[in-house]
């Protein structure tokens, strides 16, 4: 009476073993197995550790060939064999081996990936989760929660232990934790925090929220950058702090608001101008002739009371525009 691993070892590399692999995953599919069972099947049948990773769904399962589930040990080795899970291609079943291709390994990867896709579509939302995942993230970024508890929540998010991460803030107050270097979520507006070690994520969150306040929908009514990185704010963070501390609106902002009431699209014009390296570049961004833009800036300067085309005036303009964003 041989156990499964013993039997497979005995018929290794043959079509017989491949048939056993198919029978194994077919039977697993018939009885509502979960993802861990799928990964364990791959590890046991291939005789090497196996992983299922899907960053967009925060799935991370790793099982040793003796069937024991473990945390992810090392970053994946590019030489390991893998197979994509599902048509969107974000997930992978991985065998931690670089041995040469074999019928059995290929069959294990293919069948495990097929079944993983089936299980995912059965128990989870079909696509990558679109929005941030609130409750757990709130714990991770809450400075009042004990560090151990935050780290536990961090692991629950499925992010690699020891790696740096950052917080992105969405309009409406939600935040999301993203591995440093990973692609940012696609959102209408985002504030992006600094990349930090896991225990410092509350700091990243605070900075992400500040950055979000400097972002805009980038429409004619609300011009400005859609994605703002805290690392790029520099001294502008001080303005946010001053506003939060109750400083009254500056005279320059009051001038800007008055001028905006008289000239349509003034804020759009000035925002594009302030964000461009030259008058010509700003004119191109606004789809107007550069002489037209010069005329509009002349008009704006008369109403504002300062010269926005000199370096000092340009700085004043940028400060006033930033303050406008903060006081929306």
């Amino acid at each position: 009476m041989q156990n499964l691993a013993g039997r497979l070892a005995a018929v290794d590399e043959s079509a017989g073993a491949a048939i056993d692999v198919i029978a194994y995953f077919d039977r697993l599919a018939q009885s509502r197995a979960g993802l861990e069972q799928v990964v364990r099947g791959a590890a046991v049948l291939a005789g090497v550790p196996a992983r299922l990773v899907d960053p967009s769904r925060r799935i991370q399962v790793r099982v040793e060939p003796d069937g024991v589930r473990t945390a992810h040990a090392d970053p994946p080795d590019p030489r390991w064999r893998w197979h994509p899970v599902g048509p969107d291609g974000t997930g992978r079943v991985v065998l931690e081996t670089d041995r040469r291709a074999s019928l059995v390994d290929d069959m294990v990867l293919e069948r495990a990936a097929m079944l993983a896709e089936l299980v995912i579509s059965r128990v989870r939302r079909p696509g990558p989760s679109p929005g941030p995942d609130c409750a757990v993230v709130e714990v991770v970024v809450d400075p009042h929660v004990l560090v151990d508890e935050r780290l536990r929540a961090y692991r629950e998010l499925g992010l690699p232990a020891g790696a740096r991460a950052l917080v992105v803030a969405w309009p409406g107050g939600h935040v999301q934790v993203v591995a440093a270097g990973a692609p940012l979520p696609d959102a209408p507006r985002l504030g992006v925090g600094t990349a930090v070690d896991a225990p410092d994520l509350p700091i990243s969150a605070a900075r992400a929220r500040t950055a979000l306040r400097f972002s805009a929908d980038d429409t004619a009514d609300d011009p400005g950058a859609r994605v703002v990185h805290a690392d790029d704010l520099g001294g502008l963070e001080l303005i946010a702090a001053a506003v939060d501390a109750g400083a009254p609106p500056t005279a320059d902002l009051r001038s800007l608001r008055r001028a905006a009431e008289e000239i349509p699209h003034l804020v759009l014009t000035l925002t594009r101008y302030a964000a461009s390296a030259s008058i010509r570049a700003a004119a191109a961004a606004l789809f107007v002739h550069h002489s037209t833009l010069q005329d509009r800036l002349d008009h704006a300067e008369r109403l504002l009371g300062w010269d926005v085309r000199q370096p000092a005036g340009r700085l004043r303009l940028q400060m006033a525009l930033a303050e406008r964003l903060l006081r929306r």
Partner: protein, 323 residues
């Protein structure tokens, strides 16, 4: 006999069974097919060299005096090389329906405890039915146990900490030894670990009928085993200790650990035996593993359920032995 739907197998266990290329294991064994079944059971059983695991264990094969007027009894003594001083002893009786197997069958599972807890494992080679019906097998097992008790120090064992352990028919013998030594008082036994034990020759419970021809070890194989053991005698006339479940008095037994699958022939008799131990004021820990077939942890050791079952046994042993 009406058929009753059995509980579904656990997904991983069902998959492992499917991957062995057969629907069932050790079902429908009759005296005519016994020779083949014996060979199939021993396929893949570790050799003495395998058991030594490259020096992790010292393995010794002893022959000790058998029952009065009988032949010597082979004992396989396995000791973790890093064990220090006198260690608790697991006295292992192997499975195989009382008609199959040898003293290396199923020892792999016991060695895990030895490694974790530093235990001495003694696995007895007892005579098999039908060539040698009851009491031959139990007499051999009893003689071996008495030798271990009297000579524990010679194998580095602690005579005050002997635990009986056996799976399937090994559980028959372990349970019978627990009853026998309780009554004779010749060996002090600390506990009995009965893994999906074969306890009742009546072979007519609901679980027996549910599992007819399904899974691992069905009612036909079971009838063949009991009939050989009892030499064709009706069970009602069976001598004392031949059938553990027929013992009327289950009081005063050493603490018992019992486990069984919900999808196996022995489910109901194991649950009932545990219930009777409690009713007699005894100590028993019972685990019924959902969707498990007979010998599940042996056939699919990597499955989650198998891991949990092994953990449960280890925890019980650790508590029992004060390790």
């Amino acid at each position: 006999m009406t058929t009753i739907a059995p509980p579904p197998f656990d997904p991983e266990l069902a998959a492992a069974l499917a991957a062995t290329g057969q629907d069932t294991v050790a079902t429908g064994i009759t005296p005519d097919t016994l020779a083949d079944a014996r060979a199939a059971l021993l396929e893949g059983v570790p050799s003495v060299a395998d058991l030594a695991a490259d020096g992790t264990y010292d393995v010794e094969e002893l022959a000790v005096p058998g029952p009065e007027g009988g032949q010597d009894v082979p004992l396989l003594v396995i000791r973790p090389r890093d064990a220090v001083g006198l260690r608790p002893v697991v006295y292992h009786t192997h499975g195989g329906g009382l008609i199959m197997g040898n003293n290396r069958f199923g020892v792999d599972l016991v060695l895990e405890w030895a490694r974790e807890l530093g235990l001495i494992v003694v696995s007895v080679g007892y005579r098999l039915a039908p060539e040698h019906p009851f009491p031959a097998g139990l007499d051999d097992a009893h003689a071996g146990l008495r030798w271990v008790h009297e000579h524990a120090g010679e194998i580095g064992g602690d005579a005050r900490r002997i635990v009986l352990a056996g799976g399937s028919a090994g559980g028959t013998l372990a349970a019978a030894l627990a009853q026998l030594t309780r009554d004779r008082g010749d060996v002090e036994v600390l506990g009995q670990l009965l893994m999906y034990p074969m306890l009742d020759d009546r072979n007519d419970s609901v679980s027996v009928r549910q599992m007819a021809g399904i899974g691992v070890w069905d009612g036909i194989s079971n009838a063949t085993g009991w009939s050989a053991w009892l030499a064709g005698r009706p069970g009602a006339d069976a001598p004392r200790y031949a059938v553990p479940a027929r013992e009327r008095d289950l009081a005063g037994l050493p603490p018992a650990f019992l486990d069984v699958g919900s999808a196996e022939t022995f489910r109901d008799e194991v649950v009932e035996y545990a219930g009777r131990i409690w009713a007699a004021g005894g100590e028993a820990e019972l685990h019924v593993w959902p969707g498990a077939f007979h010998g599940f942890d042996f056939l699919a050791p990597q499955a989650e359920l198998s891991q949990r079952a092994r953990q449960a046994r280890l925890h019980w042993l650790r508590r029992l032995l004060g390790e």
